[in-house]
């Protein structure tokens, strides 16, 4: 009997893996039907809730979310302006999920949805020649007309802060410096951009609006990603 070539023996395994990947992914339009049936155009970003011990994490997120969302094609109400209004109205540190409050966001400011952000993890670690920053956050868009959650996603992003140097001592020093640096804003910005690229449908203003309904997204609305620096 002729021996089958090794490549043909791999074929059933590849087919099985391909089928299995479909179990864990579904299309954007099936996971987030409301985002396609009645998509919001304008989004009000609420001050993120910080459940970590990193005091700066809230500002890292609140200052980078507008860009990450804007690049997906949504009108984002000006963050600093809205935060000042929320402070003046005593709503800056509130949860703001009262339907009456959400309805007022729509009535007075034209917001179709509000974005809730909860920062769950902001962990820096360093060992010898490698350092990393792990950012974990949950996001939810709540409609200001139906008061329902129309989109939500949780992301865990590990930013690798190691050095590319081939010399061990240089690598040791560079990774220690990268991990110890105080301004992590670029990392937060990149993490938020990546999260929305992976899971948020294109908004009205994006040139590719409407083209992602069949794009795969994790069925459990959560993802783990790595960024190399």
């Amino acid at each position: 009997m002729r021996k089958l070539p090794p490549s043909l023996l791999l074929l059933p395994a590849l087919l099985l893996l391909g089928a299995c990947s479909g179990i864990f992914n579904r299309t954007m339009s099936s996971v987030y039907p409301d985002m396609y049936a009645n998509q919001p155009t304008s989004i009000l970003v609420l001050p993120p809730v910080n459940n970590t011990t990193a005091a700066d994490a809230r500002e890292y997120f609140s200052c980078s979310l507008a860009e990450a969302l804007g690049m997906r094609g949504y009108y984002i109400l000006p963050v600093e302006t809205m935060f000042n209004i929320l402070r003046d109205e005593g709503l800056y540190d509130e949860r703001n999920n009262d339907p009456a409050v959400l309805a007022n966001f729509r009535k007075y400011f034209g917001a179709d949805a509000v974005l809730y952000t909860v920062i769950e993890k902001w962990d820096k670690s360093w060992f010898l020649d490698s350092g990393s920053l792990t950012i974990q956050a949950r996001f939810a868009l709540i409609s200001t007309s139906s008061f329902e959650t129309i989109w939500d996603y949780g992301s865990t992003i590990r930013v690798n802060l190691g050095s590319e140097s081939k010399k061990f001592l240089v690598k040791l020093i560079e990774s220690a410096v990268k991990t110890a640096m105080e301004d992590y804003f670029p990392n937060a910005r990149e993490a938020n951009i990546l999260t929305f690229e992976k899971a948020l449908p294109y908004g009205k203003y994006h040139p590719l609006h409407g083209s992602d309904a069949e794009k795969w997204v994790n069925w459990d609305k959560a993802g783990f990603y790595e960024i190399d620096k």
Binding site: A66, E67, N84, G110
Partner: protein, 114 residues
């Protein structure tokens, strides 16, 4: 021959690369520094960064990203340049119709209506 193939590949890849439909520049980072440090210099840097976004967006023939005209107008209000603040609020309204309710609210709140 190999060099030509490599050059052709680079040209094809650059053609496929998508540029973003909006230009934010370094405005988000400058905003963070203005919030974090709240010094006159950090606020001035943020203002300059926004001006750079406006001019670069015009050069690229792209819209200024949502909210930036408005945040710039609020900086002008804090500097008591009310005429320019009104102008930038109206630019936000013109560029992004969804901002109409908010812009009208701000024009009234800061008494910038004509």
């Amino acid at each position: 021959m190999k060099a030509r193939a490599a050059l052709l590949l680079c040209l094809l890849l650059s053609a496929c690369a998508q540029t973003s439909y909006l230009y934010y520049g370094d405005s988000s980072h400058a905003y963070y520094k203005a919030v974090k440090h709240a010094t006159p210099q950090s606020v001035a840097d943020y203002k300059a960064c926004l001006e750079n976004v406006f001019s670069e967006s015009a050069r690229r023939q792209q819209p200024v990203p949502p909210g930036l005209y408005c945040d710039y107008a609020m900086l002008l209000v804090s500097q008591k340049d009310y005429a320019s603040a009104r102008d930038y609020l109206l630019r936000e309204k013109s560029c992004w119709p969804e901002s109409a309710l908010l812009v009208d609210y701000l024009l009234q709140r800061y008494e910038l209506e004509p």
